[in-house]
Protein backbone atom coordinates (compact mmCIF):
# COMPACT_ATOMS: atom_id res chain seq x y z
CA UNK A 1 0.00 0.00 0.00
CA UNK A 2 1.44 3.34 -1.06
CA UNK A 3 1.10 6.16 1.44
CA UNK A 4 -0.77 9.25 0.39
CA UNK A 5 1.25 12.49 0.24
CA UNK A 6 -0.45 15.66 1.48
CA UNK A 7 0.99 19.13 1.17
CA UNK A 8 0.36 21.17 4.27
CA UNK A 9 0.24 24.95 4.63
CA UNK A 10 -0.65 26.34 8.02
CA UNK A 11 -3.41 24.04 9.16
CA UNK A 12 -4.53 20.47 8.73
CA UNK A 13 -7.69 18.87 10.04
CA UNK A 14 -7.53 15.12 9.86
CA UNK A 15 -10.87 13.37 9.41
CA UNK A 16 -12.10 9.87 8.54
CA UNK A 17 -11.36 10.48 4.86
CA UNK A 18 -7.63 10.56 5.58
CA UNK A 19 -7.38 7.34 7.53
CA UNK A 20 -4.23 5.22 7.50
CA UNK A 21 -0.64 6.18 6.93
CA UNK A 22 0.07 9.59 5.47
CA UNK A 23 3.12 11.45 4.34
CA UNK A 24 2.91 15.14 5.11
CA UNK A 25 5.05 17.44 3.04
CA UNK A 26 5.72 20.55 5.12
CA UNK A 27 7.88 22.53 2.71
CA UNK A 28 5.23 25.23 2.28
CA UNK A 29 4.73 25.74 5.98
CA UNK A 30 5.79 29.02 7.39
CA UNK A 31 6.54 29.58 11.06
CA UNK A 32 3.62 27.62 12.43
CA UNK A 33 1.32 24.78 11.57
CA UNK A 34 -1.71 23.47 13.46
CA UNK A 35 -2.97 19.93 13.33
CA UNK A 36 -6.36 18.77 14.52
CA UNK A 37 -7.13 15.12 15.05
CA UNK A 38 -10.81 14.33 15.32
CA UNK A 39 -12.09 12.05 18.02
CA UNK A 40 -11.71 8.26 17.80
CA UNK A 41 -9.37 8.48 14.81
CA UNK A 42 -5.96 6.93 14.44
CA UNK A 43 -3.17 8.20 12.21
CA UNK A 44 0.41 7.51 11.37
CA UNK A 45 2.11 10.56 9.89
CA UNK A 46 5.55 10.81 8.32
CA UNK A 47 6.72 14.39 8.24
CA UNK A 48 8.99 15.34 5.37
CA UNK A 49 10.65 18.53 4.10
CA UNK A 50 10.38 20.23 7.45
CA UNK A 51 11.54 23.85 7.21
CA UNK A 52 14.38 25.09 9.41
CA UNK A 53 12.16 27.00 11.81
CA UNK A 54 8.73 25.76 12.62
CA UNK A 55 6.24 25.46 15.44
CA UNK A 56 4.06 22.38 15.19
CA UNK A 57 0.91 22.22 17.26
CA UNK A 58 -1.09 19.04 17.65
CA UNK A 59 -4.55 18.99 19.08
CA UNK A 60 -5.88 15.55 19.78
CA UNK A 61 -9.54 15.09 20.46
CA UNK A 62 -10.88 12.41 22.74
CA UNK A 63 -9.75 8.84 22.13
CA UNK A 64 -7.59 9.71 19.14
CA UNK A 65 -4.22 8.23 18.37
CA UNK A 66 -1.39 9.91 16.53
CA UNK A 67 2.00 8.50 15.69
CA UNK A 68 4.60 10.80 14.15
CA UNK A 69 7.67 9.63 12.31
CA UNK A 70 10.49 11.98 11.46
CA UNK A 71 13.80 11.24 9.81
CA UNK A 72 15.91 14.35 9.89
CA UNK A 73 18.80 14.22 7.49
CA UNK A 74 19.35 17.77 6.33
CA UNK A 75 19.87 21.42 7.26
CA UNK A 76 19.81 23.14 10.65
CA UNK A 77 16.54 22.76 12.48
CA UNK A 78 14.87 24.64 15.24
CA UNK A 79 11.51 23.07 15.91
CA UNK A 80 8.91 23.64 18.59
CA UNK A 81 6.37 20.94 19.20
CA UNK A 82 3.24 21.46 21.27
CA UNK A 83 0.59 18.90 22.00
CA UNK A 84 -2.75 19.09 23.72
CA UNK A 85 -4.26 15.76 24.59
CA UNK A 86 -7.90 15.20 25.53
CA UNK A 87 -9.21 12.09 27.32
CA UNK A 88 -7.75 8.68 26.37
CA UNK A 89 -5.47 10.01 23.64
CA UNK A 90 -2.22 8.50 22.58
CA UNK A 91 0.47 10.67 21.06
CA UNK A 92 3.82 9.25 20.02
CA UNK A 93 6.74 10.71 18.13
CA UNK A 94 9.75 8.81 16.81
CA UNK A 95 12.53 11.09 15.73
CA UNK A 96 15.66 9.83 14.03
CA UNK A 97 18.05 12.75 13.83
CA UNK A 98 21.00 11.93 11.63
CA UNK A 99 21.58 15.30 10.03
CA UNK A 100 25.07 16.68 9.72
CA UNK A 101 23.88 20.03 11.01
CA UNK A 102 22.68 21.54 14.26
CA UNK A 103 19.34 20.67 15.76
CA UNK A 104 17.30 22.27 18.48
CA UNK A 105 14.05 20.62 19.33
CA UNK A 106 11.64 21.62 22.04
CA UNK A 107 8.51 19.83 22.97
CA UNK A 108 5.78 20.54 25.46
CA UNK A 109 2.92 18.16 25.83
CA UNK A 110 -0.09 18.97 27.94
CA UNK A 111 -1.91 15.84 28.82
CA UNK A 112 -5.20 17.33 29.88
CA UNK A 113 -7.56 14.40 29.59
CA UNK A 114 -7.73 11.35 31.81
CA UNK A 115 -6.00 8.19 30.63
CA UNK A 116 -3.93 9.78 27.91
CA UNK A 117 -0.39 8.79 26.95
CA UNK A 118 2.67 10.50 25.57
CA UNK A 119 5.70 8.81 24.07
CA UNK A 120 8.66 10.70 22.59
CA UNK A 121 11.68 8.71 21.43
CA UNK A 122 14.79 10.11 19.83
CA UNK A 123 17.75 8.46 18.22
CA UNK A 124 20.44 11.01 17.52
CA UNK A 125 23.85 11.04 15.91
CA UNK A 126 25.97 14.11 16.32
CA UNK A 127 29.20 14.23 14.38
CA UNK A 128 31.67 16.71 12.94
CA UNK A 129 31.13 19.65 15.31
CA UNK A 130 27.35 19.57 15.28
CA UNK A 131 25.33 20.45 18.35
CA UNK A 132 22.05 18.70 19.00
CA UNK A 133 19.76 19.94 21.71
CA UNK A 134 16.54 18.33 22.81
CA UNK A 135 14.19 19.58 25.44
CA UNK A 136 11.25 17.25 25.75
CA UNK A 137 8.77 18.13 28.46
CA UNK A 138 5.34 16.97 29.37
CA UNK A 139 2.75 17.77 31.99
CA UNK A 140 0.58 15.16 33.57
CA UNK A 141 -2.54 17.19 34.32
CA UNK A 142 -5.08 14.49 35.04
CA UNK A 143 -5.66 10.91 36.24
CA UNK A 144 -4.10 7.73 34.90
CA UNK A 145 -1.62 9.11 32.44
CA UNK A 146 1.51 7.56 30.96
CA UNK A 147 4.56 9.28 29.61
CA UNK A 148 7.81 8.01 28.20
CA UNK A 149 10.70 10.15 27.02
CA UNK A 150 13.75 8.43 25.65
CA UNK A 151 16.93 9.69 24.04
CA UNK A 152 19.60 7.45 22.55
CA UNK A 153 22.50 9.53 21.36
CA UNK A 154 25.91 8.94 19.89
CA UNK A 155 28.40 11.80 19.69
CA UNK A 156 31.60 11.61 17.70
CA UNK A 157 34.24 13.85 16.15
CA UNK A 158 33.58 16.79 18.37
CA UNK A 159 29.82 16.33 18.26
CA UNK A 160 27.64 17.41 21.16
CA UNK A 161 24.31 16.13 22.42
CA UNK A 162 22.32 17.80 25.15
CA UNK A 163 19.14 16.29 26.51
CA UNK A 164 16.86 18.18 28.86
CA UNK A 165 13.22 18.14 29.71
CA UNK A 166 10.87 18.18 32.61
CA UNK A 167 8.18 15.64 33.24
CA UNK A 168 5.82 17.23 35.70
CA UNK A 169 3.22 15.13 37.43
CA UNK A 170 0.69 17.60 38.79
CA UNK A 171 -1.24 17.28 42.00
CA UNK A 172 -4.34 15.58 40.65
CA UNK A 173 -2.60 13.17 38.32
CA UNK A 174 -2.89 10.08 40.48
CA UNK A 175 -2.05 6.63 39.07
CA UNK A 176 0.29 8.23 36.59
CA UNK A 177 3.31 6.50 35.19
CA UNK A 178 6.32 8.45 33.96
CA UNK A 179 9.62 7.37 32.46
CA UNK A 180 12.59 9.37 31.32
CA UNK A 181 15.69 7.78 29.94
CA UNK A 182 18.73 9.41 28.39
CA UNK A 183 21.70 7.42 27.18
CA UNK A 184 24.49 9.07 25.29
CA UNK A 185 27.56 7.26 24.01
CA UNK A 186 30.67 9.34 23.51
CA UNK A 187 32.58 7.70 20.72
CA UNK A 188 35.80 9.64 21.28
CA UNK A 189 37.39 12.05 23.74
CA UNK A 190 36.53 15.15 21.73
CA UNK A 191 32.79 14.60 21.91
CA UNK A 192 30.47 15.70 24.65
CA UNK A 193 27.11 14.82 26.06
CA UNK A 194 24.94 16.27 28.78
CA UNK A 195 21.69 15.03 30.17
CA UNK A 196 19.36 16.69 32.61
CA UNK A 197 16.16 14.70 32.77
CA UNK A 198 13.99 16.20 35.50
CA UNK A 199 10.99 14.74 37.22
CA UNK A 200 8.66 16.94 39.24
CA UNK A 201 6.15 15.03 41.26
CA UNK A 202 3.35 16.78 43.12
CA UNK A 203 1.24 13.72 43.65
CA UNK A 204 1.62 10.58 45.76
CA UNK A 205 0.13 7.64 44.00
CA UNK A 206 2.40 7.54 40.92
CA UNK A 207 5.16 5.46 39.39
CA UNK A 208 8.12 7.29 37.99
CA UNK A 209 11.62 6.42 36.90
CA UNK A 210 14.38 8.34 35.28
CA UNK A 211 17.86 7.49 34.25
CA UNK A 212 20.72 9.18 32.55
CA UNK A 213 23.91 7.49 31.39
CA UNK A 214 26.62 9.23 29.48
CA UNK A 215 29.91 7.66 28.63
CA UNK A 216 31.71 5.10 26.60
CA UNK A 217 30.41 1.72 25.53
CA UNK A 218 29.23 -0.96 27.89
CA UNK A 219 32.37 -3.04 28.63
CA UNK A 220 30.46 -6.30 28.91
CA UNK A 221 28.84 -5.85 25.54
CA UNK A 222 32.20 -5.03 24.02
CA UNK A 223 33.85 -8.11 25.55
CA UNK A 224 31.03 -10.31 24.27
CA UNK A 225 31.52 -9.16 20.68
CA UNK A 226 35.33 -9.26 20.86
CA UNK A 227 35.16 -12.82 22.15
CA UNK A 228 33.54 -13.76 18.85
CA UNK A 229 36.54 -12.51 16.92
CA UNK A 230 35.40 -9.02 15.96
CA UNK A 231 38.10 -6.37 16.09
CA UNK A 232 37.76 -3.56 18.60
CA UNK A 233 36.74 -1.07 15.92
CA UNK A 234 34.21 -3.39 14.37
CA UNK A 235 32.69 -4.30 17.72
CA UNK A 236 32.45 -0.67 18.75
CA UNK A 237 30.81 0.24 15.49
CA UNK A 238 28.27 -2.59 15.64
CA UNK A 239 27.26 -1.78 19.20
CA UNK A 240 26.91 1.90 18.42
CA UNK A 241 24.94 1.30 15.25
CA UNK A 242 22.68 -1.11 17.08
CA UNK A 243 22.17 1.43 19.75
CA UNK A 244 20.99 4.03 17.22
CA UNK A 245 19.02 1.49 15.26
CA UNK A 246 16.88 0.17 18.09
CA UNK A 247 14.27 2.83 17.22
CA UNK A 248 13.88 1.29 13.76
CA UNK A 249 11.06 -1.06 14.70
CA UNK A 250 8.75 1.94 14.67
CA UNK A 251 9.34 2.60 10.98
CA UNK A 252 8.32 0.80 7.79
CA UNK A 253 10.74 -1.20 5.63
CA UNK A 254 11.58 1.66 3.23
CA UNK A 255 12.20 4.06 6.08
CA UNK A 256 14.33 1.47 7.84
CA UNK A 257 16.56 1.26 4.79
CA UNK A 258 16.90 5.02 4.74
CA UNK A 259 17.84 5.00 8.41
CA UNK A 260 20.43 2.26 7.88
CA UNK A 261 22.12 4.05 5.03
CA UNK A 262 22.14 7.37 6.88
CA UNK A 263 23.62 5.80 10.00
CA UNK A 264 26.27 3.97 7.99
CA UNK A 265 27.09 7.17 6.16
CA UNK A 266 27.52 8.98 9.47
CA UNK A 267 30.53 6.91 10.54
Amino acid sequence: MKSKIIEVNDKLILTENDSGELILDLKKCNEKVDFFIKQNLKFVLSLINIPSNLALNFNLEENSNLKLKIINDSSNKSLNFNENLANSCYFSCFLVDLSKSNTEIKNLCNMNGEGSSFDFEISSLSNKDTVKKYEISCNHNSLNQNSNVSLHGVALQNGQIIGKGVTWIKENSIKSNAKQNERIILFDKESAGKGYPTLKIDCNDVKASHGCAIGSLNDNHLFYLLSRGLSYNEARKLITLGYLQSIKVNFNIDEQETIDSLINGGF
Binding site: F223, Y224, S227, R228, Y232, L238, G242, L244
Partner: protein
Protein backbone atom coordinates in the same frame (compact mmCIF):
# COMPACT_ATOMS: atom_id res chain seq x y z
CA UNK B 1 45.92 -30.14 17.54
CA UNK B 2 45.28 -27.96 20.53
CA UNK B 3 46.52 -27.92 24.07
CA UNK B 4 45.75 -25.46 26.82
CA UNK B 5 48.19 -25.23 29.71
CA UNK B 6 47.53 -23.05 32.73
CA UNK B 7 50.40 -22.64 35.16
CA UNK B 8 50.19 -21.10 38.60
CA UNK B 9 47.57 -18.54 37.56
CA UNK B 10 46.86 -15.75 40.05
CA UNK B 11 44.12 -13.27 39.25
CA UNK B 12 42.71 -10.22 40.99
CA UNK B 13 39.72 -8.04 40.45
CA UNK B 14 39.48 -4.70 42.21
CA UNK B 15 42.38 -5.70 44.47
CA UNK B 16 40.58 -8.84 45.56
CA UNK B 17 42.44 -12.11 44.97
CA UNK B 18 40.18 -14.56 43.19
CA UNK B 19 42.39 -17.13 41.52
CA UNK B 20 45.29 -18.21 43.69
CA UNK B 21 47.48 -20.52 41.70
CA UNK B 22 45.44 -22.49 39.18
CA UNK B 23 47.23 -25.35 37.44
CA UNK B 24 45.27 -27.12 34.75
CA UNK B 25 45.86 -28.71 31.37
CA UNK B 26 43.33 -29.46 28.68
CA UNK B 27 44.87 -31.80 26.14
CA UNK B 28 43.91 -32.11 22.53
CA UNK B 29 40.29 -33.23 22.15
CA UNK B 30 39.85 -33.63 25.90
CA UNK B 31 36.71 -32.59 27.75
CA UNK B 32 37.47 -31.27 31.21
CA UNK B 33 34.55 -30.67 33.52
CA UNK B 34 34.85 -28.02 36.21
CA UNK B 35 32.86 -28.05 39.39
CA UNK B 36 33.05 -25.92 42.47
CA UNK B 37 31.02 -23.99 45.01
CA UNK B 38 29.50 -20.65 44.03
CA UNK B 39 31.88 -17.75 43.94
CA UNK B 40 35.12 -19.74 43.97
CA UNK B 41 36.41 -18.59 40.60
CA UNK B 42 35.10 -20.84 37.83
CA UNK B 43 33.67 -18.06 35.66
CA UNK B 44 36.65 -15.91 36.45
CA UNK B 45 38.98 -18.58 35.11
CA UNK B 46 37.10 -18.87 31.82
CA UNK B 47 36.86 -15.09 31.48
CA UNK B 48 40.59 -14.71 32.00
CA UNK B 49 41.38 -17.35 29.41
CA UNK B 50 39.17 -15.42 26.98
CA UNK B 51 40.88 -12.18 27.96
CA UNK B 52 38.31 -10.12 29.84
CA UNK B 53 40.21 -6.91 30.71
CA UNK B 54 38.30 -6.59 33.99
CA UNK B 55 40.54 -9.22 35.54
CA UNK B 56 44.17 -8.62 36.34
CA UNK B 57 46.59 -11.49 35.95
CA UNK B 58 49.23 -10.96 38.62
CA UNK B 59 51.18 -14.17 38.17
CA UNK B 60 51.28 -17.28 36.03
CA UNK B 61 50.98 -18.37 32.45
CA UNK B 62 48.40 -19.52 29.95
CA UNK B 63 49.66 -21.31 26.87
CA UNK B 64 47.56 -22.40 23.94
CA UNK B 65 49.33 -24.54 21.38
CA UNK B 66 52.54 -23.33 22.93
CA UNK B 67 51.69 -19.65 22.44
CA UNK B 68 51.36 -17.10 25.22
CA UNK B 69 47.65 -16.38 25.41
CA UNK B 70 48.04 -13.55 27.91
CA UNK B 71 49.77 -11.45 25.26
CA UNK B 72 46.89 -11.76 22.83
CA UNK B 73 43.90 -9.44 22.47
CA UNK B 74 40.45 -10.91 22.99
CA UNK B 75 39.67 -11.13 19.28
CA UNK B 76 43.05 -12.74 18.57
CA UNK B 77 42.24 -15.45 21.09
CA UNK B 78 38.96 -16.06 19.34
CA UNK B 79 40.72 -16.28 16.00
CA UNK B 80 43.19 -18.78 17.48
CA UNK B 81 40.20 -20.99 18.19
CA UNK B 82 39.22 -20.19 21.77
CA UNK B 83 35.50 -19.80 22.44
CA UNK B 84 33.55 -18.81 25.55
CA UNK B 85 29.89 -19.63 25.98
CA UNK B 86 28.73 -17.10 28.56
CA UNK B 87 26.98 -17.91 31.82
CA UNK B 88 24.76 -14.86 31.24
CA UNK B 89 24.81 -13.92 27.55
CA UNK B 90 24.27 -10.19 27.03
CA UNK B 91 21.36 -8.60 25.22
CA UNK B 92 22.67 -6.15 22.67
CA UNK B 93 20.06 -3.56 21.70
CA UNK B 94 19.57 -3.00 17.99
CA UNK B 95 22.21 -5.50 16.86
CA UNK B 96 20.68 -7.93 14.41
CA UNK B 97 21.68 -11.50 15.31
CA UNK B 98 22.40 -12.76 11.82
CA UNK B 99 24.36 -9.61 10.90
CA UNK B 100 26.47 -10.18 13.95
CA UNK B 101 27.12 -13.84 13.13
CA UNK B 102 28.07 -12.85 9.60
CA UNK B 103 30.59 -10.37 10.99
CA UNK B 104 31.92 -12.94 13.46
CA UNK B 105 32.34 -15.65 10.83
CA UNK B 106 33.97 -13.26 8.41
CA UNK B 107 36.40 -12.20 11.12
CA UNK B 108 37.54 -15.83 11.28
CA UNK B 109 38.03 -16.23 7.54
CA UNK B 110 40.59 -14.80 5.16
CA UNK B 111 37.98 -14.23 2.47
CA UNK B 112 34.39 -13.12 3.00
CA UNK B 113 32.01 -16.05 3.21
CA UNK B 114 29.51 -16.16 0.33
CA UNK B 115 26.05 -15.23 1.58
CA UNK B 116 24.34 -18.45 0.53
CA UNK B 117 27.00 -20.47 2.35
CA UNK B 118 26.52 -18.36 5.48
CA UNK B 119 22.75 -18.74 5.47
CA UNK B 120 23.03 -22.48 4.87
CA UNK B 121 25.38 -22.80 7.86
CA UNK B 122 23.10 -20.63 9.99
CA UNK B 123 20.04 -22.61 9.00
CA UNK B 124 21.73 -25.93 9.79
CA UNK B 125 23.01 -24.58 13.09
CA UNK B 126 19.53 -23.43 14.05
CA UNK B 127 18.21 -26.90 13.29
CA UNK B 128 20.92 -28.50 15.42
CA UNK B 129 20.03 -26.42 18.47
CA UNK B 130 16.31 -26.24 17.61
CA UNK B 131 16.12 -22.46 17.46
CA UNK B 132 13.56 -20.93 15.16
CA UNK B 133 15.41 -19.50 12.13
CA UNK B 134 13.27 -16.36 12.42
CA UNK B 135 15.00 -15.57 15.69
CA UNK B 136 18.15 -14.77 13.73
CA UNK B 137 16.38 -11.65 12.52
CA UNK B 138 15.85 -10.41 16.03
CA UNK B 139 18.33 -8.39 17.99
CA UNK B 140 21.07 -10.36 19.67
CA UNK B 141 19.57 -12.18 22.67
CA UNK B 142 17.05 -9.37 22.96
CA UNK B 143 13.97 -10.82 24.61
CA UNK B 144 15.28 -14.38 24.19
CA UNK B 145 14.23 -16.70 27.00
CA UNK B 146 16.93 -18.03 29.32
CA UNK B 147 17.03 -21.36 27.49
CA UNK B 148 17.04 -19.69 24.07
CA UNK B 149 20.03 -17.58 25.05
CA UNK B 150 21.94 -20.69 26.07
CA UNK B 151 21.09 -22.50 22.83
CA UNK B 152 22.14 -19.37 20.98
CA UNK B 153 25.56 -19.64 22.63
CA UNK B 154 25.83 -23.25 21.43
CA UNK B 155 24.82 -22.10 17.96
CA UNK B 156 27.72 -19.66 17.98
CA UNK B 157 30.04 -22.46 19.03
CA UNK B 158 28.85 -24.60 16.13
CA UNK B 159 29.28 -21.77 13.65
CA UNK B 160 32.74 -20.77 14.84
CA UNK B 161 33.96 -24.35 15.19
CA UNK B 162 36.55 -23.55 17.90
CA UNK B 163 39.55 -25.64 18.88
CA UNK B 164 38.74 -25.05 22.53
CA UNK B 165 35.20 -24.38 23.67
CA UNK B 166 34.68 -23.12 27.21
CA UNK B 167 31.07 -23.38 28.33
CA UNK B 168 29.99 -21.67 31.53
CA UNK B 169 26.88 -23.23 33.07
CA UNK B 170 25.49 -23.77 29.63
CA UNK B 171 22.99 -26.22 31.16
CA UNK B 172 21.42 -23.87 33.67
CA UNK B 173 17.89 -22.85 32.79
CA UNK B 174 17.50 -25.57 30.16
CA UNK B 175 14.53 -27.91 30.10
CA UNK B 176 15.08 -31.67 29.67
CA UNK B 177 14.81 -31.59 25.89
CA UNK B 178 17.08 -28.58 25.53
CA UNK B 179 19.58 -30.27 27.83
CA UNK B 180 19.74 -33.22 25.45
CA UNK B 181 20.05 -30.93 22.43
CA UNK B 182 22.97 -29.13 24.02
CA UNK B 183 24.71 -32.26 25.19
CA UNK B 184 24.34 -33.81 21.71
CA UNK B 185 25.75 -30.67 20.12
CA UNK B 186 28.75 -30.78 22.45
CA UNK B 187 29.35 -34.45 21.75
CA UNK B 188 29.24 -33.82 17.99
CA UNK B 189 31.58 -30.87 18.27
CA UNK B 190 33.97 -33.03 20.27
CA UNK B 191 33.90 -35.64 17.53
CA UNK B 192 35.04 -32.89 15.19
CA UNK B 193 38.18 -32.58 17.32
CA UNK B 194 37.42 -29.73 19.72
CA UNK B 195 38.62 -29.64 23.32
CA UNK B 196 36.31 -28.48 26.09
CA UNK B 197 36.26 -26.81 29.46
CA UNK B 198 32.74 -27.22 30.78
CA UNK B 199 31.60 -25.58 34.01
CA UNK B 200 28.44 -26.96 35.54
CA UNK B 201 26.83 -27.67 38.90
CA UNK B 202 24.82 -30.54 37.52
CA UNK B 203 26.42 -33.99 37.66
CA UNK B 204 23.91 -35.66 35.35
CA UNK B 205 24.70 -33.14 32.64
CA UNK B 206 28.45 -33.47 33.13
CA UNK B 207 28.27 -37.26 33.10
CA UNK B 208 26.24 -37.19 29.89
CA UNK B 209 29.27 -35.51 28.30
CA UNK B 210 31.60 -38.30 29.46
CA UNK B 211 34.32 -35.98 30.69
CA UNK B 212 37.92 -37.10 30.38
CA UNK B 213 38.73 -35.28 33.60
CA UNK B 214 36.80 -33.62 36.39
CA UNK B 215 38.42 -30.72 38.25
CA UNK B 216 37.06 -29.02 41.34
CA UNK B 217 37.84 -25.35 41.94
CA UNK B 218 37.78 -24.30 45.57
CA UNK B 219 39.32 -21.16 47.05
CA UNK B 220 40.61 -20.14 43.63
CA UNK B 221 42.68 -23.30 43.21
CA UNK B 222 42.17 -26.70 41.68
CA UNK B 223 41.34 -28.69 44.81
CA UNK B 224 41.27 -32.06 43.14
CA UNK B 225 41.23 -33.57 39.72
CA UNK B 226 40.21 -37.02 38.63
CA UNK B 227 37.52 -38.98 36.85
CA UNK B 228 33.74 -39.09 36.98
CA UNK B 229 33.78 -40.45 40.51
CA UNK B 230 34.54 -36.91 41.71
CA UNK B 231 31.35 -35.38 40.33
CA UNK B 232 29.35 -38.35 41.55
CA UNK B 233 30.71 -38.07 45.07
CA UNK B 234 30.10 -34.33 45.15
CA UNK B 235 26.56 -34.83 43.91
CA UNK B 236 25.92 -37.32 46.68
CA UNK B 237 27.80 -35.79 49.57
CA UNK B 238 28.28 -32.13 48.69
CA UNK B 239 31.56 -30.26 48.87
CA UNK B 240 32.07 -31.67 52.36
CA UNK B 241 33.24 -34.74 50.54
CA UNK B 242 36.16 -32.76 49.08
CA UNK B 243 36.87 -31.35 52.50
CA UNK B 244 36.85 -34.78 54.11
CA UNK B 245 38.77 -36.56 51.39
CA UNK B 246 41.38 -33.93 50.58
CA UNK B 247 41.44 -32.00 53.82
CA UNK B 248 40.62 -28.70 52.13
CA UNK B 249 38.74 -26.07 54.13
CA UNK B 250 36.23 -24.12 52.06
CA UNK B 251 37.36 -20.61 52.89
CA UNK B 252 34.34 -18.61 51.93
CA UNK B 253 31.45 -17.72 54.10
CA UNK B 254 28.60 -19.68 52.66
CA UNK B 255 26.38 -17.32 50.75
CA UNK B 256 22.72 -18.00 50.34
CA UNK B 257 23.41 -19.40 46.87
CA UNK B 258 25.89 -21.76 48.45
CA UNK B 259 23.36 -22.98 50.93
CA UNK B 260 20.99 -23.76 48.14
CA UNK B 261 23.43 -26.09 46.42
CA UNK B 262 24.67 -27.69 49.62
CA UNK B 263 21.06 -27.96 50.70
CA UNK B 264 20.33 -30.06 47.66
CA UNK B 265 23.21 -32.35 48.45
CA UNK B 266 22.24 -32.56 52.10
CA UNK B 267 18.72 -33.56 51.13
CA UNK B 268 20.16 -36.35 49.05
CA UNK B 269 22.20 -37.52 52.01
CA UNK B 270 19.14 -37.59 54.22
CA UNK B 271 17.21 -39.61 51.67
CA UNK B 272 20.08 -42.05 51.51
CA UNK B 273 20.23 -42.35 55.26
CA UNK B 274 16.55 -43.16 55.38
CA UNK B 275 16.90 -46.02 52.96
Amino acid sequence: MSELIIKNLHVEVENKKILKGINLTVKNNELVAILGPNGHGKSTLLSVIMGNPKYKVVEGEILFDGENVLKMSVDERSKKGIFLGFQNPYEIPGLNTSDFYKAALNAHEEKRIPLFKFYKALENGCKDVKLDFDMMNRNLNDGFSGGEKKRNEILQMLLLNPKLAMLDEIDSGLDVDALNIVSDAITKQKEKGSSFLVVSHYDKFLNSLKPDKVAVIINGRVACIGGEEISKNIASFGYHWVKKTYGIEIEKEETSMNQVSIGVCATKEIIKDEK
